[in-house]
């Protein structure tokens, strides 16, 4: 038996499951040894959403109601690439976020900030032939949470992506440049490698900044690729 495996991710570039500064990980992170998973047919394949899954308008979070949402309108663009920097085409990108006041439209969000009747806070897109995606939204606000005394999450947008195979699957968060809360956030700081951490921060982008309309932020995303290597014995 000699099953192939996926290329390993470089050390320190993904979070460990147990990260004590993030309290919720204490009772939810696995405690027993993980078993190395070969790349069988079940892992080399993965769900691929068809274009019918996304309608025109699904990537514009500002146009779902009679009036636009409150807040600073922004364009978020980027490319989805694999480890060999090939574009990931036709990839589903799902996104969700708090409103400009830092409040999610969710029954469990008890933060005492106003809900915005004109903002639902989610969208989706499918990448084009160059692996590009584009969303129009508003900049989310920072908000408090109960992880530790005076804990605040930096402004962020949640991203969910499907790539070439099941193990390309990624859920992550996009942050904004220059946010003073980043240094104090246990979730952002769960990644040991400094460069890997910084890649979670979008960059201000003149190219997608639209005159008289919206600032642009760029967030490129690398997913694990298809490459397999023979299993080490």
């Amino acid at each position: 038996m000699n099953l192939p495996t996926f290329r390993k991710v470089p050390s320190g570039t993904q979070p460990e499951y147990l990260h004590p500064p993030y309290k919720s990980s204490l009772k939810r992170a696995p405690t027993r040894p993980l078993i190395a998973l070969p790349a069988t047919f079940s892992e080399r394949t993965g769900p691929v959403f068809g274009h019918a899954a996304v309608q025109a308008g699904d990537s514009d979070l500002t146009a779902l109601h009679e009036a636009p949402p409150a807040g600073e309108r922004i364009v978020v663009t980027g490319r989805v690439l694999d480890e060999d920097t090939r574009p990931v085409r036709g990839a589903l990108v799902e996104l969700w976020q708090a409103n400009a006041a830092g409040r999610y439209k969710h029954k469990n969000d008890q933060h005492n900030a106003p809900l915005d009747p004109h903002f639902d806070g989610y969208g989706r897109a499918i990448t084009d032939q160059q692996g590009r995606y584009k969303f129009l939204t508003i900049k989310p606000g920072a908000y408090p949470w109960t992880n530790h005394h005076n804990a605040w999450r930096p402004a962020h947008i949640h991203f969910s992506l499907f790539g070439a195979g099941l193990l390309s699957r990624l859920v992550t968060q996009m942050y904004f440049p220059g946010d003073p809360l980043l240094d104090h956030d246990p979730i952002y700081n769960c990644v040991g490698d400094e460069n890997a951490k910084r890649r979670l921060i979008s960059s201000f982008d003149w190219e997608s900044t639209t005159p008289e309309f919206a600032l642009g932020y760029r967030f490129d995303i690398v997913l694990r690729g298809r490459e397999v290597t023979p299993m080490e014995k």
């Binding site: 192939p4 939810r28 998973l37 019918a52 920097t85 969000d109 969910s160 968060q173 460069n195």
Partner: protein, 180 residues
């Protein structure tokens, strides 16, 4: 290094905002076979308390051979379910069959990804079916220490056509999770 995969971050407590449009309990894309199975279970944390804010994604690649996506663009063989306030989940699928690939026999199984607040990176596991002779041959099950294999094999439910599979995040019964 441009080619390093981007770091994972937790799905957080409010994932349903973004992930609810593509929740789906049935993996068979409207074509239920006579061997269709309902899987029920609970997700439990290190205090054996139910996890009310987990989302599971289930992948059954064999279904793709027939049809990649339904008319709504949703991939056949894929499901996404969230736990309820009691930590319970449920999904249905056409029972996978034993398969051959890479020169080995694989027992019927589904791949499962688990996301929740508290998990900075999702968990990867598998569910196998009870009373399958091929379980003894499956190359992935054989990588698992024998005393822990039981955590990956669902149990027959009282009613026909159903199995029960609980996911223990921690403890002596901790489900086997894979390094990927």
């Amino acid at each position: 290094m441009a080619g390093t995969p981007l770091a994972s971050q937790t799905v957080g407590p409010f994932f349903s905002i973004g992930l609810h449009p593509f929740l789906r309990r049935d993996l068979f894309g409207g074509n239920a076979s006579s061997e269709h199975v309902t899987v029920r279970g609970r997700v439990l944390d290190g205090d054996r308390q139910p996890v009310p804010d987990a989302v599971l994604e289930i992948w059954q690649p064999g279904e793709v051979n027939a049809r990649a996506t339904g008319p709504d663009g949703y991939p056949v063989g894929f499901g996404r379910v969230a736990t309820n306030d009691h930590g319970e989940f449920e999904f249905s699928l056409n029972k996978p069959v034993q398969s051959e690939s890479d020169g080995v026999t694989h027992a019927p199984h589904v791949a499962v990804l688990i996301f929740m607040r508290g998990l900075l990176r999702h968990l990867v596991t598998r569910m196998y079916f009870p009373d399958e002779a091929a379980n003894a041959l499956d190359p992935v099950l054989q990588l698992v220490p024998e005393d822990r294999r039981i955590t990956l094999i669902a149990k027959s439910a009282e009613e026909p056509g159903a199995v029960v599979w609980d996911i223990h995040l921690q403890s002596d019964h901790e489900t086997v999770f894979f390094d990927f």
